[in-house]
């Protein structure tokens, strides 16, 4: 199952969510891979992995190196990561040079899919050939939305964009509220109104939290070192909700 976290707008808590959800997936026992496609390399940094892929994206796309060689294990069992590389900034240009039928990122990822139960992709905030490849590839798109008018507008833009893409028809879009502040009237108001327009919206909001900002000091997922703070609890509940949405059929059955 491939889950991509994506937002047109930056600074919305996307990487923090990816880092924590991937950690929770591995902790639940799934073989999990996190592909850090965001050239800022924040996810790689949080997992203490140097953001360098040998030969950069050129070597990957030209088939000189396989993605397999770039995979690094994290400090947590069952959780591996493909580090970001600054040359990913050029990935779009390179992908643009390959034919559409080439499947770009999908071709790179395919050999690894048998080794992992869950793949998380941390996408950079833009609409580009790369993100189009991700839309084609992923089973679900997790979209963090700050409960503000501007952030909600980018969600509208994304859904309009996807509606025009037939290849994204099977993609489940699961928006969730991120950096939510219950003391702000604008936030609470938006959190009431937006789900009316987006019934697929996940119900668990991730709160605004200084703890999340401190992840950069600890360099590990919040849920690993502070499992009982509000934001950790929220990530855990969010993860549970995502799994229930994506595999509703599995459940106990009497013998």
């Amino acid at each position: 199952m491939i889950l991509a976290t994506y937002s047109i707008k930056g600074g919305v808590g996307k990487t923090s969510a990816t880092v924590n959800l991937a950690y929770l997936s591995a902790r639940a026992g799934y073989r999990t891979l996190l592909w850090d496609l965001d050239p800022q390399g924040a996810a790689s940094f949080y997992y203490r992995i140097k953001p360098k892929v040998k030969g950069g994206s050129k070597a990957l796309l030209r088939g000189k190196r396989s993605l397999d060689e770039a995979v690094k294990g994290t400090d947590f069992e069952l959780l591996d990561l493909i580090p970001a590389d600054f040359s990913y900034r050029n990935l779009d240009l390179l992908l643009a040079g390959t034919p559409k039928s080439d499947r770009g990122l999908g071709r790179l990822l395919e050999p690894l899919l048998v080794e992992y139960d869950r793949v998380f992709i941390d996408c950079p905030p833009s609409i580009s050939r790369m993100s189009e490849d991700v839309f084609r590839l992923a089973d679900a798109l997790l979209v963090p939305v700050i409960p503000t008018t501007l952030s909600a507008r980018t969600l509208d833009q994304l859904t309009e964009f996807l509606a025009e893409r037939p290849h994204a028809a099977r993609l489940r879009v699961l928006p969730f509220f991120s950096m939510a502040d219950g003391d702000k009237a604008l936030h609470t108001d938006m959190m009431l109104r937006l789900p009316e327009r987006y019934p697929d919206m996940l119900t668990v909001p991730v709160p605004q939290s200084t703890e999340v900002e401190r992840m950069g000091i600890h360099r590990m997922p919040l849920a690993a070192y502070a499992p009982s703070v509000d934001a950790s609890v929220a990530y855990e509940q969010l993860w549970g909700e995502i799994m229930r949405r994506l595999q509703p059929s599995a459940g106990p059955q009497a013998q």
């Binding site: 995979v71 400090d75 799994m243 106990p252």
Partner: protein, 525 residues
């Protein structure tokens, strides 16, 4: 590229504490306090996980229960794990998770049962790089087989396991060099489960309900028949306790199949045992088949229930629930009766007498007519004759034939199948497999025709019984009626398919293979 985990034996004269000391003074690492892990290893009664190259470990029954899936081919490396709230049993009943995903297709309706318990003394060291990131994991393990009724506690060999962290192959090689060079450890392939099983005297895959005989064509027919019956008796006996404890429905199923096969072997391998013995055992196996019937019928209901429910239009599905409740309310009582029968002197003496007869030497004189003939001759004659009967009966069936004719054909067909399965090793493997498969296809069609009718009749009787016990929900009766209609429609469909199915069985080519393989020598008997 996935790096392979490496396993080393702790050398004689050393132990876990000394190994941990030696490693932590030589490596930049982070050591956790030693722990004692109680672990339990599980499989189904018929070794489905082991046969698939997997091993399942349950750890921390007292703290947080977790199931760990190991790959035996990979030196017993753990692949995935899943927390579980309670003792593991059926995969179906587990919450979704990576271990359940792997268990479900292998286990089906079989229950996980404990194989053995180990206490593992474990020290873990994480080797770190200059950013304090883990680059290799080291586990130093000293397992002990836990004492139980049959044995005292037993130490197993200690191991140092290197678990690679992907992408840090250089660090793994450095640690391996240290272990192999300076510390002088030898690499071993030794998944702990395999050593523990062997220490406990448990033979993997010791149970299989499949018929797998290696007969010698020149062997005396009565000796071969005894070998066949002994195999069936072993299967039957192996399933008695699991049926009494009702661990899962396959115990009873396998017990009944072994009984049915034994009855068939008694009557179909003719003239090899004294007639009074045959008559006596036929009757006693008949009793066993009868007393095990009611619970099997209820099992079939419960196993089929989800499918039956789904086959109904959505608005009717909820109405079927009282049927399940009714079946469950009778289940315990029937199961208790069955357990009593299986614990009765009647069954004990059946198993004891039959084994005594089968293990006694064959008579050197005054043997029944076929006893001393080579088994191949007897098998040729019996299978050839049964094949011709199936063909004759099948060809006589027309669109107007009564159901009884199809039932008779089914019986003959079953006898033919069992005979071919008993004597399979006397004939070329490929051809035999083909013929058995063809016969099974024909049997499936005949089975559907009869079983669906029996199920429909059973449903009617259940409806009457429910009515007698004061359950008058009209919705339920209507839903059951809808089920009956579907069952009878399915039966009609099977009837309509019979002609084509039989035609595929009765081809010129099939006929030639049958005649060539089972040409009777020395006259028909």
């Amino acid at each position: 590229m996935q790096l392979e985990p490496r396993v080393y034996a702790i050398p004689e004269g050393s132990d876990g504490t000394r190994m941990a000391m030696a490693l932590s003074t030589r490596l930049h690492c982070d050591a956790a306090a030693p722990v004692k892990l109680p672990t339990r290893w599980l499989d189904s009664f018929d070794w489905r996980l082991y046969a698939a190259g997997a091993a399942l470990e349950e750890i921390g029954a007292d703290t947080g229960r977790e199931l760990v899936w190991h790959d035996l081919a990979d030196g017993g490396a753990s692949v995935v794990r899943q927390r579980i709230p309670e003792e593991p049993g059926f995969a179906q009943a587990m919450a979704p998770g990576p271990v359940r995903e792997r268990l479900l297709p292998l286990l089906g309706i079989r229950r996980l049962l404990p194989l053995l318990d180990l206490d593992i003394g474990r020290r873990s060291l994480n080797v770190l790089d200059d950013e304090d990131k883990t680059v290799v994991r080291i586990l130093i393990e000293e397992p002990r087989l836990r004492a139980d009724n049959e044995r005292a506690e037993l130490p197993l060999s200690g191991r140092v396991r290197l678990l690679p962290v992907r992408g840090y192959g250089d660090a793994l090689r450095e640690v391996a060099d240290l272990l192999e060079g300076e510390l002088g450890l030898a690499a071993v392939y030794a998944p702990v489960l395999l050593e523990a099983l062997s220490a406990a005297g448990i033979h993997p895959c010791s149970y299989s309900p499949k018929l797998d005989y290696r007969l010698d064509p020149r062997q005396r027919a009565d000796a071969a028949a005894k070998e066949i019956h002994l195999g069936l008796l072993d299967t039957l006996s192996a399933n008695v306790q699991g049926t009494i404890d009702n661990l899962d429905s396959e115990f009873l199923h396998d017990l009944r199949v072994a009984t049915r096969r034994a009855r068939s072997a008694l009557t179909q391998i003719k003239g090899v045992f004294p007639e009074p013995v045959v008559a006596d055992m036929k009757e006693r196996f008949g009793w066993l088949q009868r007393v095990t019937g009611p619970v099997r019928d209820l099992d079939v209901y419960l196993l089929d229930f989800p499918v039956m429910r789904e086959s109904l239009p959505a608005p009717l599905r909820g109405d079927l629930e009282p049927l399940r409740t009714f079946v469950l309310s009778h289940y315990d009582q029937e199961q208790r009766k069955l357990a009593a029968m299986l614990e009765s002197p009647q069954l004990h003496s059946l198993l004891r007498d039959w084994r005594a007869f089968l293990e006694a030497p064959v008579p050197q004189a005054a043997a029944p007519i076929n006893a001393m003939r080579p088994v191949k001759d007897v098998a040729d004659a019996r299978i050839g004759r049964m094949y011709r009967r199936v063909r004759r009966e099948g060809r006589a069936i027309t669109g107007d034939s009564p159901p009884e004719d199809l039932h008779e054909l089914r019986k003959s067909c079953k006898k033919l199948r069992y005979l071919m399965e008993f004597f399979q090793s006397l004939y070329p493997q490929e051809e035999m497999r083909g013929l058995i498969k063809q016969t099974k296809t024909l049997l499936d069609n005949l089975g559907r025709f009869q079983d669906l009718a029996v199920q429909a009749e059973h449903l009617r009787e259940t409806a009457l019984a429910m009515h007698d016990e004061g359950m008058h929900e009209v919705g339920t009766m209507l839903a059951m009626g809808a089920l009956m209609r579907d069952l009878l429609a399915g039966q009609q469909a099977a009837r309509a398919e019979f002609a084509v199915t039989f035609e595929r069985f009765d081809t010129r080519r099939n006929r030639a293979t049958f005649e060539a393989l089972f040409r009777a020598r020395g006259g028909r008997r």
